[in-house]
Subunit: 443 residues, 2 copies
């Protein structure tokens, strides 16, 4: 980049352009991250016209805003017409309202109409991530007609790998892959090679479900239709890969008790980060009060055998960890659709057996450690180990059940992850612990 | 499926085949999950030959094993030759050695040679997930030659969307998309439309990095070359989507303190599940001993003010939750390459500010609750709230630092998630708590 900046500084624009042409558009977009604010537009203007829009679509929010704010109306208009509609919609969604207005003013009437339509779809719906640049064919065309037609219009389409066969009124009748077209003889009719059992989604379908269809059917693109199965757009795999990452990030965040957000960490403000974290922390902190109340209720047990306190952290932590292992596997299994609501009894039985094995091993190891090595009183050692066993059993079975129950009640299973399970298991572990203690130690 | 099973039972094979033909191959494969063991092969034999291998490639492990064990050598040979090599390798990897031997015996010599070669690549490497069925072109071809050639050989290729231009000795000189071919005039030479700044990987490259390249450059396929940049295979996006899910699943598992595994939960044995969970639980249980020892060391403090015990669970849980929020965001940011090693100071400063805000709010809410509502002694309330504040500060800063440090030392950042952070923060929280208590309460 230094070389290019030097060229730009010395007004050697042709050399700079030459240097940039050697690189991949994605890498050029990345290079812009290193350019100073005042130089961003200068360097952007050096890009040859045929790659400018492409580079633009791969840039970060900040750079795009800087560029749009400094370009002339004519330049904006060029970029908007060159961008694919889904990329335009993507970047308009991050811009302040007055800039959006200016961009739309410079779009052609057709483009503006489509953009406005797409901006109205709810977030995360098929409509909000689709593009309208697809190849449409007719059943009556021959393969030769179709290929001629694609040669004419294909340059402006997001993909030509799948073509869409439309009837009257843009009704979607089937799809044909470019592969099928190429491998078929020239005089064959599209109607004879059309695939009619294709997968499609409605404009309002949630992006997470769409990603599921891509995975299941190994799709490269999916048609999006309105309620009358008229084709309104397509979604391509590159956008779905982003959706998969985004949905996974949201799950990670929810499972760590945060409000989900798809903003990058380093680009999120301190206040926003704090806001996303505080609500759940408060809820969990206040829930932990119950655990404290249990301890208060068994104050007499603790006062007579203070050493019992020393094992509370170990019991709580192990219970929490055991529970979060199970809940994580189940939440993940539900997300990947490997586990369904109907499997709840299989899960309970499995967790019961797994936790029995794990519980026995951990209780034994712990007994050896605290009785033989730390010379803890025998009855106290027994109390701790029995509590440990039942805590693990309970933690794992609850960790298995709760995410499925959440799903059953149309809640997100991810909230039943580690933090919530830990809070519940902590309370249960203490009740078991003190009950065992008062019974075994006769307090 | 019932309808089809009835047809099969009544030996109405033509009707059954007709019924199956209406469905998508992926859905047919899914239907097999409902078929009894003894009927699986019967129904499989009903499938028309042109879809049998395709359906087979989408089936579960169990069904595939059942089918392979019951088919004749001739039938196996047909399927193997129809399957794409990467799917064959995939399913051979799950079969017992004697069955693998039988399958390989029935493959043609060429196929066997390639399979054996692919089976030797290390797990998760480019070589282990690539396929060898790609379209190879020559620079000297015209577009017309190329399309004619594709018409001839394309049917057996995993994808024709990207074609690979090879020089002497299979050296990879560039790539051409089918789109470029279709949109170019017939007499143009491949050499003039070839893309030479293409992205490629070595056979030993890790699949996670390859997935990163697909995401960054919006690829549909990537060429895999040996050390002399000779083309040996390609990886297509459908396999990469699986890799992304698999890598995410592994991260979820590691972050919940489990040994990673890409087997489905319901299909994993109880012993394997227990084994994957027990090691980390043991390590963490024994680490929690230190926390117990801290309590023992401060026994005199606890004995004089037993009520202090009641706040231990809340302090431990909140500290753990606060830490896991930060570590989750950082681990995820590192995985998506949004955060790098160089950002460590930015992260520390950010977490310091976020945790100050969060800590103050939580400490205040907690003070109101325990002092005003629960009428806790003033000095004890102050002790608890100051401890809470510093615990959150420490937890969040550690949660930000540890994953980056792990990455720095070439460890997987995911192990620095909730469970490990919790254990560390617990110990720290107790030390702060008891020190504050002995100082403020003058014990």
């Amino acid at each position: 980049m230094e070389k290019i900046l030097k060229f730009v500084d010395e007004k050697k624009f042709i050399e700079a352009r030459q240097e940039l042409k050697k690189k991949n558009v994605v890498d050029i977009a990345e290079l812009f991250e290193e350019v100073d604010k005042e130089n961003v537009v200068k360097v952007f203007r050096v890009l040859s016209k045929d790659i400018a829009a492409d580079v633009f679509s791969y840039m970060g929010h900040e750079q795009r805003r800087l560029i749009i704010e400094s370009l002339t109306d004519k330049e904006i208009s060029n970029i908007i017409e060159d961008l694919f509609i889904d990329d335009t919609v993507d970047f308009l969604e991050e811009l302040p309202a007055n800039v959006v207005k200016r961009v739309l003013k410079n779009a052609s009437e057709d483009t503006r109409k489509i953009i406005n339509q797409l901006l109205r779809y709810p977030e995360s719906s098929a409509g909000s991530i689709m593009t309208v640049e697809y190849v449409d064919l007719k059943k009556e065309m021959t393969v030769e007609d179709a290929i001629k037609y694609i040669k004419k219009i294909g340059i402006d389409k997001e993909t030509i790998n799948t073509c869409y066969v439309l009837g009257d009124d843009r009704h979607l009748e089937g799809i044909v892959s470019i592969r099928k077209l190429i491998l078929s003889d020239n005089d064959i009719l599209i109607r004879d090679i059309i695939k009619t059992d294709f997968i499609y989604v409605n404009t309002l379908e949630d992006q997470e479900n769409i990603a599921g269809l891509f995975k299941k059917y190994d799709l490269l693109a999916i048609p999006v239709t309105d309620n009358e199965t008229k084709l309104v757009g397509i979604i391509t795999i590159d956008d779905i890969v982003d959706v998969i990452d985004q949905e996974n990030t949201e799950d990670f965040q929810k499972m760590a008790a945060m409000a989900p957000s798809d903003e990058e960490y380093l680009k999120t403000s301190v206040w926003t980060l704090a806001k996303h974290r505080i609500v759940w922390l408060l809820v969990l902190m206040i829930s932990a009060t119950f655990t404290g109340n249990i301890i208060k209720r068994f104050n007499d047990v603790l006062e007579s055998v203070v050493v019992l306190t020393a094992f509370i952290p170990m019991l709580m932590d192990t219970g929490g960890n055991a529970g979060s292992q199970s809940s994580t596997l189940i939440i993940r299994g539900l997300a990947l659709e490997e586990i369904g609501l109907k499997d709840i009894f299989k899960v309970i039985f499995k967790e019961f057996r797994v936790s029995s094995i794990v519980g026995i091993v951990l209780a034994l190891v712990n007994f050896i450690r605290i009785y033989y090595f730390e010379k803890t009183n025998f009855l106290i050692s027994i109390t701790v180990c029995i509590t440990l066993f039942f805590t693990i059993l309970l933690a794992k079975v609850l960790g298995g059940i709760l995410p499925i129950v959440a799903k059953k009640f149309k809640m997100d299973p991810a909230i039943m992850a580690s933090p919530l399970i830990t809070t519940i298991v902590d309370a249960a572990a203490l009740i078991i612990y003190f009950s065992m203690a008062s019974w075994l130690l006769r307090i």
